[in-house]
């Protein structure tokens, strides 16, 4: 590949925050899955057994939520949904079939990413709230059994939704070449930016926030 222009897509702080959230998500997810279905119970061994998984899961979850809120605050300005996003959304079929011709220009993130941010935020808030009703031995005894039953259903359902989001997010990052690098190294090529985030690329070009680098 030739020498080309690089654009910083994710700052060091954003990258560290993202991976902190990712690691905590995996820890929370793996420690919680064992309680979701017996088929996953063996995963609790990763944490020292069922009791340790039960003890650690809510702490992982609370730290995850706090880190995620900070991440959302960092990236929120680029996550506002604009009319361009809905134009883009009409071409979702072409986008998924790798036919970029004619897909409208969008900002730094596409509508799928923006919706993901919102669904994750909602899920984490619901998981946090419902989790408190189930958190033994600290909080659960304060609530009625019926409230805890509702919380258990809500917690399991929301965990399912967030796992679906996780699968979609990881796959989308793998599918879009250059996306993982943008979250590990921070930069994307100018061509990548122009291709995926045309409006953002133009803004970057105007403000001159580009750096030279070797690919």
């Amino acid at each position: 590949m030739s020498r080309q222009q690089m654009i910083l897509r994710h700052s060091t702080g954003e990258r560290l925050n993202h991976w902190l959230v990712a690691i905590l998500f995996i820890l929370t997810g793996l420690s919680g899955l064992g309680f979701f279905h017996p088929a996953f119970y063996w995963l609790t061994s990763l944490f020292g057994g069922g009791t340790w998984a039960r003890i650690l899961h809510p702490f992982f979850g609370v730290i995850l939520a706090l880190c995620f809120f900070v991440l959302v605050a960092r990236v929120w300005k680029d996550n506002r949904i604009t009319s361009a996003d809905w134009q883009w959304f009409r071409h979702l079929g072409e986008f998924l079939r790798n036919r970029p011709a004619g897909i409208p220009a969008i900002g730094k993130y596409n509508l799928g990413q923006k919706l993901l941010t919102r669904v994750l935020l909602l899920c984490i808030l619901v998981l946090l709230a419902s989790g408190i009703f189930l958190w033994q031995p600290w909080f659960a005894p304060e609530f009625s059994v019926e409230m805890r039953r509702i919380a258990a259903v809500v917690h399991a359902f929301t965990a399912f939704v967030i796992l679906l989001c996780f699968i979609v997010h990881v796959y989308a990052a793998y599918w879009t070449r250059g996306a993982i690098r943008s979250m590990t190294r921070g930069w994307v090529t100018a061509a990548w930016a122009r291709h995926h985030s045309t409006t953002w690329y133009q803004e970057m070009a105007e403000t001159g926030k580009k750096s030279q680098g070797a690919a």
Binding site: A156, F157, W175, T189
Partner: protein, 290 residues
């Protein structure tokens, strides 16, 4: 570790068959409330046999002592002063504790393999060494029985003296009851015996006397003879139609299946998408233009 001399009908969070080569008799405990004098000898016998010592509580102005079940009190007498008919005071004393349901909500809810065992004789037993302390058994129970210990975060409740029953002895409470209000034996025999008791009570004017063996949990292995079987709630809130909550069924049966399929489909969907559409990449020429 489950008792080796007893076969297992169900085991919590386990999807393969449990040991069931032996044939054991279905047993039960029959508590005849019309014979109970509220002496609490059963509570003492339970403490003695199981080596339990609850903390000394405070007088609340009623006979109930201790006030509630706990990790150290697996059975308590609940005293209710009620007027089933106007002007006719009755003191209904119910020995509360695990009912040993045929369809146990605790076992359905438990995520820890082998922490809750239902023996083929009907006893539902907690194995604390496999318990993770999540408290889901409390959520699953229709009778509000299991209690988490503040000391070790494990759930405890009446074992129906599974250790005694396994070697052919009756539960400690049944052995000690001075009036014969607690009977232990084959469930079939006790059903027959209760029919005689109920006929007797009806003769004595208790028109609605009957057996409490609720069908919502497929029957229990602790049954009551009630003077007022039409109104079990008179007996310190004994539920009139107990069953596993629909929320617990939604959580444990329906959700597990639907969500398992959903997550599997998402993964398969990703693989198929990638294999049919390939990566979302920028071609060489496009890179060269910058």
């Amino acid at each position: 570790m489950a008792l080796q001399s007893l076969d297992i009908r169900r085991r919590s969070a386990t999807t393969t068959p449990s040991p069931q080569a032996r044939t054991t008799l279905e047993i039960a405990k029959l508590i005849d409330i019309s014979k109970c004098i509220g002496c609490k000898a059963c509570q003492v016998a339970c403490m003695e046999w199981n080596d339990l010592r609850d903390t000394v509580g405070t007088n609340r102005g009623v006979y109930d002592n201790p006030a509630d079940l706990s990790a150290q009190s697996w059975t308590v007498m609940r005293f209710a002063e009620v007027e089933p008919d106007p002007g006719r005071l009755e003191w209904l004393i119910r020995k509360d504790g695990c009912m040993h349901c045929s369809d146990p909500g605790c076992l359905k809810s438990c995520p820890a393999p082998g922490a809750i065992i239902q023996y083929s004789n009907g006893i539902v037993d907690f194995h604390q060494e496999a318990c993770v302390g999540c408290g889901y058994c409390i959520i699953g129970c229709p009778f509000n029985i299991p209690r988490l210990s503040a000391t070790d975060n494990k759930a405890y409740k009446c074992t129906l003296c599974s250790d005694r029953v396994a070697v052919g002895r009756e539960p400690a409470c049944a052995k000690t009851c001075p009036t014969g209000a607690i009977l232990f034996g084959a469930k079939e025999d006790l059903l027959e015996h209760s029919a005689g008791r109920i006929a007797d009570l009806k003769e004595r004017g208790y028109r609605n006397a009957g057996l409490y063996n609720p069908p919502g949990v497929d029957g229990t292995h602790v049954m009551y003879v009630l003077q007022h079987a039409d109104r079990p709630e008179l007996y310190s809130g004994l539920p009139s139609d107990p069953g596993i909550s629909p929320l617990v069924v939604l959580w444990k049966d329906i959700a597990k299946t639907v969500m398992g399929i959903g997550l599997g489909a998402a993964i398969v969907g990703g693989v198929v998408h990638f294999l049919t559409q390939g990566p979302n990449e920028i071609n060489e020429e496009e890179e060269e233009t910058l």
